[in-house]
């Protein structure tokens, strides 16, 4: 009986060993594991890449949207435009009546009544109404200021148009008689 039991044990060990040595099914499992891992890894790569791209898009969109909103909030009122015939200078008095601070004047276009461009000025210095220069060269909400365009030859009693382009890209037009 004991001999029979020993034989059974040997047989079981042989079967186990045979199973371990059997490699046909193992290769399928390993390959599946590898494929699945690769798929998950690629998925994560795609996830991170897509997230990166979408956040970049978000950033661009957000910047564009903020710029649009800031432009919407800008408003400049022309209080007075005075042409000094003897000094050939044009004084433009402005007020920021919008709802955003730091409105700068980037470019000023002067055109005649026919629309022909007379002068383009890009280096604009903003002054307070009392004649002192505005330190930050911009107009905050409710702030008033003026700039002077020099060496401008205009005909007296003729109509002209003025276009002020702000640093944010808003445009404000005004007509005046020299």
């Amino acid at each position: 009986m004991k001999l029979k039991g020993d034989e059974c044990l040997d047989m079981d060990l042989r079967r186990l060993w045979k199973r371990i040595r059997e490699r046909r099914a193992v290769s399928v499992v390993v390959s599946n594991v590898i494929l699945t891992s690769a798929a998950i890894a690629v998925s994560f790569v795609v996830l991170f890449w897509a997230q990166y791209r979408s956040s970049a898009y978000n950033e661009q969109y957000s910047e564009a949207m903020d710029a649009d909103i800031a432009r919407l909030k800008e408003r400049l009122a022309f209080e007075y435009v005075f042409y000094n015939q003897s000094g050939s200078s044009l004084s433009v008095y402005l007020m920021n009546c919008g709802t955003i601070d730091n409105v700068t004047v980037r470019t000023v276009y002067v055109k005649d009544a026919a629309g022909a461009l007379i002068q383009v000025s890009s280096s604009i210095t903003l002054m307070q109404f009392n004649g002192t220069q505005i330190a930050d060269n911009d107009l905050d909400r409710g702030e008033e200021g003026y700039f002077v365009l020099s060496s401008l030859s205009l005909a007296t009693d003729a109509g002209y148009s003025l276009r002020v382009v702000t640093g944010r890209g808003s445009t404000f037009d005004h007509t005046f008689i020299a």
Binding site: N32, L47, I69
Partner: protein
Amino acid sequence: MTIRLSLRKRFRKLIIANSKGFSSVIGTTFMVLVMMFLSTAVFMWTLSQNTVYNEAVRARNQEEADRSNENVVALSGNYSVSGDNVTVKVVLKNAGSLAVQIINLWVLDTDPSNRRYTNKSLSLNMTPGQVLSFVDSGLLTVTIPGANANHTFASWFVTARGNTIPLEKEQAIIVAQLAQGIGSLALDFSAFRYFKYATSTRLANYSDGIKSFNVPSRTDIAFGAVLTNLDPSKQTITLNLYSQVWLYFPKAPGQSIVFYIVNVASNGTITTPYSSITIAFGETKLIVFASDAAGSLTRVSISSSVENLPCALNLLLLGTIGTRDYGQNIPFVSLYVYKP
């Protein structure tokens, strides 16, 4: 073998026993989840950004609507010029439904010889329907070097919303017709005053004086009258040395006192001899009458014989208007002489 058993076997064979393509299923599922997650996030974020933008557009539209609904009118506009000081006389009425803040006044001298302008910062808050009168106020006074009453002025107010309110000039015909009837110089009744002397030639408390219609007897005094030139032809009036204030007493027949016109420096000192005083059109000037003799200074007092009596005061103004002679008598002031 039943059909049910057959299907179960086939399912086991396809799904469980056969693991080929399992990774593709996982990958695809993962990919779909990633895409759904990302697209949802981007969509929601874009939606929120659009909401922010729409809110900004709505706010902008509201501002534009408020701006176009502002309705302040400047009525009864007129200008008073004294030296380089130009006073804007106007009645402002907020005829709109919005509260308005007026932040600036611009005044422009449109005369070709003196094309100057100036502005004055204001802070006038007007509720709907409110009327502010600046007809008798000096608040809206600006300085324009070289300004003259003969010049034409233009002015406008600027509101905090960026609107401009032009000044509508008063119907000048009313003043002109009045001036044709009673003369070109108008007396500011409420500004009538008299002065005592601080020294032998200097008036005390000049130019305010004492604004009263009760004057002391036995005290050297002088009278001050504020005159405005409202000549319809806008000519300058020159007052000569015979211009005077004349007091007469109904209860004391034969009693009358005269105070001749004098020049007064800004510190109140009466300067002699008299040099003609000119009042340009629209200009307002304080004219002082102090002397018993024309062209010089002989101080005058009201005698005790007319104490406690009322008297009438007339301004007898003589000189030229433009190149023509001019004479005007302005009555209206009554005085009571009291014993000091």
